[in-house]
Assembly symmetry: D4
Homo-oligomer: 250 residues x 8
């Protein structure tokens, strides 16, 4: 149920064309589209200002095709994350205007223009070149949700002067997403340098006792810089979504 | 060393009133007060808008007395978190205007009035009565940092109607802190209901396979509600500090 | 050896038609068929009302062929779970009346009609599209064991209204199987809405700190909804088997 | 809102004394009693057939007193679990008709007679003497919820004949709760002997690599007996609650 | 260097036929053959009664060829464990009298007859068909070391009568190796039935919360049957080697 | 029920002196003494040559008193392990001939003489002084079960010459129990020096990343010395019981 | 920016040849070369005496090509570690003077002669043949950094005499790198034999409860030999880098 | 037994003054003093230049008294670490010249003067006031072993300027010990600033997901600064011992 449908229903009620009871009944059953394999939540855009984003991993090509076809009909902008290259290739053939980013593993299908609706700039910082896929996923997501984005790549703490040289950039951001693998120390340093919200993203970059990102995750959860918040390992999308919640005008 | 002192120093150098060697020497020692057992960072307020908060746990009474005495001299408002009752009793005798909260285990010493400097209201939600100490730590911290706070207690997901009955309250908040132990599911439901920033705090409430809060922590990190961010187990302080970073006017 | 055979043996002994030594010898070897690589437990149907189900994973094609051949001779209905596609293809050629489900990875060979012997309906609920393989394994198993099954797909807690819209369906079920990956919160909400038995199945859907289903497993074990029970990660079969134990007429 | 209040409301509606809209409004806000530190869910009895049970651990004496006082007024039967001896002593003085069980650590206050409403008998089996507290918590809970209970103590798998000697008892139960620490093997053996629902409860009994019950928990989750379900470590209450869900007449 | 050589050397020294310096020099280099990539320990047979066994995993084909060539020259019987099929194929071409077992993944090259030097029989018991590779590795190893072996396959605890029917076999063994995956309960039952040494081997058979054999390992370490000892996950070789240490005549 | 009683019963049946129904009834109840809180397994001595040993931890004083009273009546030698000092004091008053060892935390009550029934000597080796409680528990248990015991204390691998100086002692043992905390390396070295059975016992000695004995446990499970078997952390009793199984004459 | 450039800049300021604002601007941007995907830290050689080493894992071929091209221009000696064979093949074609070591998985490009600048010899010891890749990575790294290296292969603790025979070699080293998988006991023995710095490297060699090197890592962290330090699992590079820090002349 | 004694013994043998048998006997017993509960390794000073250090934890007062009495006789300087206050009080009464440090929990008894035998200065850096006990243990140990020590307290990464202001101090050290709890990021920053050896010590300071120091430990093992080595959690002693190995003149 979109805004106009909702408006129409309430106008009917106001004009006495429908009863309160009936309106309650209509509103009780939310406008969810049942695709058999999925319940498309078309009202999410109303509740959260953004359309449903599809997690591409764990879904078969067939399932993705059913879901995307329904969303395309609905006119939504579409973002699929963590999509493997082979599934992306098939989807791009079916939806030729879509664009797949091989580094970020994101699939974007823009059906209506995205307006910048953010208060300020989202700054995405990553510790090393190997963290780029997560940074790129965050950047694409943040832009899809209507934010201005700037990136600062390969400024890890073992060469602290690289970060310190960019303090002006840090201070100008409205929200900072800080991405690091291995020991995940970068958010602690950044969090100590700025007063703005810092969202930390641990990555699975590393080996041995990095345990697929656990070391970085624990490091970030225990950050000695106050007020750093954390998302799941490699979850660039989630960090961008959280940054968007923060950056949106009231 | 504040901005004007720094400018003055460099001007002295430019005008030949001081030597290069002397300037290097002055700049080497940042405005940190060395207490022997601690380096008080008086510049933090400049960088982050808030004074240093003291983690009371792991510090001896003697160490706390040295640190607080120095901060009191500096005129700062003081917040000590995770402070045991016996250390609090001794400190309250020494600093009679301070106030200790036995549930939150926080010690507050207000030396200058706190102004509300937030954009909106911070809503603190907790799943059960047992989560109250963490909720209280968050509320006290958020107020110390100049925010308006509202609380919603014992609205866990096993009785989902308790939460749904308060949707209006949820939607009016500028930032939401959602606190839960056991399976930590509450932030997922809240995150699906509102568009505003949601900070999840896992608590150590539970037993057996809750593993001191790990179950709740993992639940929150894997939240299916997009854009929920997480802080350390029982870290009400950190959640409030993050909420404050978000809620402050640009 | 069934009940009458056992009675007959002991009567022979009592009547002196057989010796003590001989009786001991007969009782030593239970009615298990020794296939060399396996001991087929033909008595399981007597004890539990259902034939032995074969776990396809970890068994070679050759081992499966030996076991299935023996079971076919015995006239049993056959269910193989967690069977890879390549082994399934070979088995389907050998047993052409069998049916392999590629999503559930189950292999079924029906040799005698299955009667509905359940008290009520088993409702299978899953949080997301990606949980479908586990839901499907549960549904096929429950039907093989003689139960009526209904499914509710993609009603996870981040869009809680999708579930609430189906409360009537929830209340009509005799047993509920609730399947979720990521934070595994769905059983807590369902468990709070119904009075009937709820069996929770964590899935390996997720990434990073979901740790292959550990997050969901811990979430479910710590559910704040009283009386939710849990099975192994991705164990749709086990959940259906447990539901069958509950749903069968006394 | 209890049954009579609900009935009255609906009668008003039926007689035209109140509007549908008003009724919807009344029903939208569930009858939750806000105690400040807790939201008492008086409707739980309607939804699940049992009153709210209080987890005594993590709650202060003051909090328990507030909650119990409210429940006593409401006339509910009251069960508090995991209650320490010192808090129990204080509560027993305040509520003299209550009864505290020092082994099970449960506090019961019976305000109205409990009727046996179960289909059959719940059999509680435990592996060793050390598992008695959990078995006792399960037994008390199951009886509070209106079930007939039988117990079988110290029949662990290292002396398998002790269990085999009681097969008749096993087969007569409607639901079986099987409790074990250390390697937690007992439910696998029991699950292979009976066709009825088996709920496994791991206990923290053991030392070293039992890791506070993790060994038993993992053992039970991986049980080779099909359809065994598991609850949290030491969660006798949860097992009894689940058994009650199963055992209740439709 | 064997016993007599050592005696001879010291006698030479005592008789002045050799110098102190020379003796020190001789004793400094133990009878280890340096292959560059490995130090062949030809004295192990003296110390432990068995030749060095080669762990095939983690070694390249080239490394295995160098080691085997040296051992063949030395006339030893050779056992390589955990050898992949492709490396085995290449080695079998080079050493045509060798024999590779595809289930156990062992490679055997017999250069001199193996005599039965055991006190009694080693009984190898496994819980399920899927545990066969580990059972087979144990059986081949035990035979290579000069023991008589008997096997009992697929007698897991969910069908306890299969095991009980074979109690006579259990009691006749000198040493018992008990192999199980999943919950690993079998050694507890066997350990309670016999008085002889029981060596438990957890296997990686299972899925989800079996965590690659951790569940079985913990189960076995916490066995309630006294005096069960445990080896590494899937370590059939180690169990057989330990059984051989026990079974050898003094 | 011993062997002759069993034979007599079956002969009665064969001779018609007893009915089939009666025999079934007799055989249904094994010779277990039901104490309410425990099932005393008087047949264990028949099956395993040793009486039941009581794990003192997790049992209340009252429970221990009931169990010991029954065992004393039966004339058994009694061993209680992991018994706290306060419970021991009370039991020693009640059973004045018993002896409590404060280091090993064992309680022994000898009612009939223990004969040495071992093949050879059990050698107990420990790495450090801090491992003495576990070594002592092993020594007392082994002696209670009728074995000759020798001890070698504080010969850890960081001073390898201390161990090498005692190689003769190592070689003379029939079975070796090797006890170590921290990295648990001692069994690997011992296992490489002798051909006899080596049972490794990890202890909880250490701190930080020793994780209460996990480091030592993992070290021992991964021992590069072939055929080392392992028991639970701090399980001196289990190691001695296993050594006794090995050391007993056939 | 090297020392002389920095001095010149400040002298310009002191002499009035440049403004304060300009100096601040110059000092803000450290001498880091921004490649878009990476920030090349050309100053690292100044700070640490060695050029930046590239971790090849997690970087795409394209990223490596960009980075290496820039480093080649700068005239640096280049070391890439953990480089897969396929990426190495492509890089060797582009940089024909480079050399790839397939065992160590290192890529070396020498552009200027490496002088031995170490105080003494670095001795690299490994426990088994399977640890060779890590040993080789350490050896190549140590030589690239200007150290003399000696290796001792396959001297694990299960055949302790192999190590003891080489005590002279141990004592002559200036720094020892000790590499072991499985239980990781070798550094404890070596650390007890020498007075020089010992760096322990756990490897992922092993299976089952070695958990990819965790067992060895924990063993080494808990070494009973005082003053053994540890690096990440399989981190031969890090050990060599640390050894180089120690071995360099003041 | 020192070098000259050993030479004398072998010369006696060469000259026929002693028999082979006698020499073997003499060499069998290394110069270890057997105290029953411990083997005092008087030769350690020969091998490692330092006397044996006693780990006070896990040892009873009686055991410590036996060991210290023997060491005092031998004239050694004595260091006991991790000693509780109550045991220290008793020991200080017995050995009045000893000194106990309540923060570091170390007990020192100086019997002969300690000479500075280090190449340079050991710098001990810690992140927070709460890390002081570990820093103090390291400082006392390093001084006991004959090193000059300097300390830098409370310079954690959340206020990075505090560390940067002390770069001169960092660069002047010969070895750096860097101590931090929580996320353990400090060694990464320090390791990037200096070329000298950096030994990282994780501490158990923190709460929740710091898991008693695991977060800091993993952070340090995964440090992006090359060549940082790590010791056990809270192991200030081990870090100082390692620093001493590095700092000693060749």
């Amino acid at each position: 149920m979109n805004n106009s449908e909702l408006t129409q229903l309430l106008q009917s009620l106001a004009k006495g064309k429908t009863s309160v009871a009936n309106t309650v009944e209509r509103l009780k059953h939310f406008p969810v589209e049942d695709l058999g394999i999925a319940q498309l939540d078309h009202q999410r855009e109303l509740r959260q200002g953004v359309p449903e984003v599809i997690l591409g991993e764990h879904k078969s090509l067939e399932q993705l095709q059913i879901i995307l076809t329904a969303m395309v009909k609905h006119g939504s902008n579409i973002l699929v994350t963590r999509l493997s290259k082979d599934k992306a290739t098939a989807l791009c053939e079916q939806f030729p205007t879509a664009k797949y980013d091989g580094v970020a593993r994101t699939f974007c299908l823009i059906q209506h223009e995205i307006k910048n609706s953010g208060v300020g700039k989202i700054l995405i910082i990553c510790a090393g070149t190997s963290d780029l896929p997560v940074a790129q996923e965050a950047a694409i997501t943040a832009r899809m949700l209507g934010n201005e984005v700037e990136e600062l790549i390969d400024v890890g703490v073992a060469g602290i002067h690289r970060l310190l040289a960019r303090q002006e950039t840090l201070r100008q951001a409205a929200v900072l997403i800080v991405i690091a693998g291995m020991e995940g120390a970068l958010p602690s340093v950044v969090g100590g340098l700025v007063a703005k919200p810092v969202i930390a993203v641990p990555t699975s970059v590393g080996y041995g006792a990095s345990f697929g990102g656990i070391a970085a995750l624990l490091g970030m959860l225990n950050s000695c810089a106050s007020g750093v918040t954390v998302v799941n390992i490699d979850n660039g999308f989630g960090a961008a979504f959280a940054a968007n919640r923060i950056n949106k005008k009231a």
